[in-house]
Amino acid sequence: MNEQVKQALIAKLTALADDELILAHRDSEWVGHGPILEEDIALANIAQDELGHATLWYGLRSTLDGSDPDRLAFLRDAAEFHNCELVELPKGDWAFTLLRQYLFDAYEALWLSAAKDSTYKPLAEVAAKILREERFHLQHTQAWVERLGLGTEESNRRMQAALDAQWGYAQQLFVPLEGEGVLVAEGIVPDLGGLKQTWLLHTTQHLQNSGLKLPLQPGYQPTSRQMHTEHLWSLLAEMQSTARWDAEAKVW
């Protein structure tokens, strides 16, 4: 692998991992506070899976540059995180959390389905491994979107508000990284442009069938993973508070 490809791949793996880590963080804020015990467990399970995916992507990066996944997660500054803005947004209500998870799952399942044919075998293997979990997530969150969209007037209103707030942010999932083109050309990662059309088709159909209004005004769409919301700093202050608290600690 030449240096340019390698650097681009490191950047991509970091972005993939960061998305999962931050999303897992937001989901895990629900633990103990869900509307039904069974659903508390289900969401915690999703958070656990996403965290597992983050660990796999950081691990894959580690094989390329020897970086320490824990240092990346717990001692890196906000400006060096390359997650999309969608996953940073505060957890909101149950509709907000489940809709975000749905939009993300729909994207991730598509991405992984394509990435499992990556020419870079280690990535193909991880993608195949994660895909099974993601399909289960998608099934779960898809069902929630339908139930809440077609439930009561209130649940529909909350879902619509969540959709209005998230739709623009969700588009960022399909904005390639600078330099991602070289990975696409080498068949290492799928082309996001192509996936976006399928994602739009699937999600708009399911959202509309769930009684939600589309198309929406595009609204604000972040165009780069250098950009963040005002929430990331405090999220990391919390997330990294234990690890950063003892600068001498070598092992936790």
């Binding site: 103990g32 467990i41 660990t55 439930g151 009561t152 649940s155 919390e238 003892d246 092992v251």
Partner: protein
């Protein structure tokens, strides 16, 4: 008369009582109280630990903690199911919890102040729970006994992870060590207390023992807990906050100093550091989830209607 004698004879023979079987009302009442209290403890216990998932210091620890809290929620589920076999509904139990009528383990009314509390809860609180649950796995009521077997296996795993964590920090940096010691200092006495009042203050015990619900007294279980944990904690290079603690050659027991039962009864009576907040957190989750539950019901009703219409 006769049925009671037969019931007690079955228990004496070591048979399990199963849901459809005849049982004295008091047996049923005590079991509902114990099992639902146990279930509530699992659910309320998610709060002090769950709050640290977002602050865990490594990917591995974060993963272990989410898994652990999920296990607790799962234990809550089994236990609610076990209680339901005695004719009480989940809604009734939930209502009793939220109204403050039902109790849950006193230990969860103490705050988790640092990350070391997570390891310490695994080691001491799960350790104490296991002693109790191992006993309850022998319990005469089949569903409770089987739930305990399953729960014990998982708790043993949590206990091991907690112990490993605290011992690691006890041998770690000065800050890690201080954090571990502080956590042991704060959780040791509450862990002893969570095993319940002295036998002399526990009037239900003889009946519960006769009916095979409990097979040991609180003081016996507490002694087992101390005998296992005190030497291990000292071995790890940590101290215990009990100046009277000593090993007794004659009995082979670790003897402890006087327990502050005023504190125990204050906590049980609703005046522990976190009683209000724990209940408030459960109530808020329930209230804020009302619209979700209504939506699910409305959706299910509509689906059923559609099915009928077709």
């Amino acid at each position: 008369g006769e049925r009671l004698a037969e019931f007690e004879a079955r228990i004496a023979r070591g048979e399990k009582i199963e849901p459809g079987d005849w049982m004295p009302e008091e047996y049923r009442r005590q079991l509902v109280r114990m099992i639902s209290q146990h279930a509530h403890s699992e659910v309320v216990g998610m709060l002090p630990e769950g709050a640290w998932i977002t602050r865990a210091p490594s990917l591995k620890r974060k993963m272990i903690l989410i898994a652990k809290v999920q296990d607790e929620a799962g234990h809550g589920q089994y236990l609610y199911h076990a209680a339901e076999t005695l004719g009480v509904t989940r809604e009734e139990m939930l209502e009793a919890l939220l109204s403050g009528k039902a109790k849950y383990s006193s230990i969860f009314n103490y705050p988790t102040l640092t990350w070391a509390d997570i390891g310490t809860i695994g080691w001491l609180v799960d350790g104490a729970a296991i002693k109790n649950q191992t006993m309850l796995a022998q319990c005469s009521y089949g569903p409770y006994s089987r739930a305990m077997v399953r729960i014990c296996a998982e708790e043993t795993f949590h206990h091991k992870q907690g112990k490993e964590m605290v011992i690691l920090y006890a041998k770690g940096t000065p800050k890690q060590r201080a954090m571990a010691q502080d956590a042991i200092n704060r959780w040791w006495w509450p862990a002893l207390m969570m095993l319940g009042p002295h036998d002399s203050d526990s009037p239900n015990t003889p009946t519960l023992v006769r009916w095979g619900i409990k097979t040991k007294t609180n003081d016996q279980v507490r002694q087992e807990f101390i005998n296992e944990h005190a030497p291990e904690i000292l071995e790890a290079g940590l101290t215990l906050p009990d100046p009277d603690l000593r090993y007794d050659e004659a009995t082979g027991n670790w003897l402890h100093g006087p327990i502050n039962w005023d504190e125990f009864w204050a906590v049980v009576g609703g005046n522990g550091p976190m009683n209000k907040e724990r209940l408030e957190a459960r109530r808020r989750a329930h209230a804020e989830g009302a619209w979700v539950r209504e939506a699910l019901a409305a959706y299910a009703a509509r689906r059923q209607q559609t099915a009928v219409a077709v």
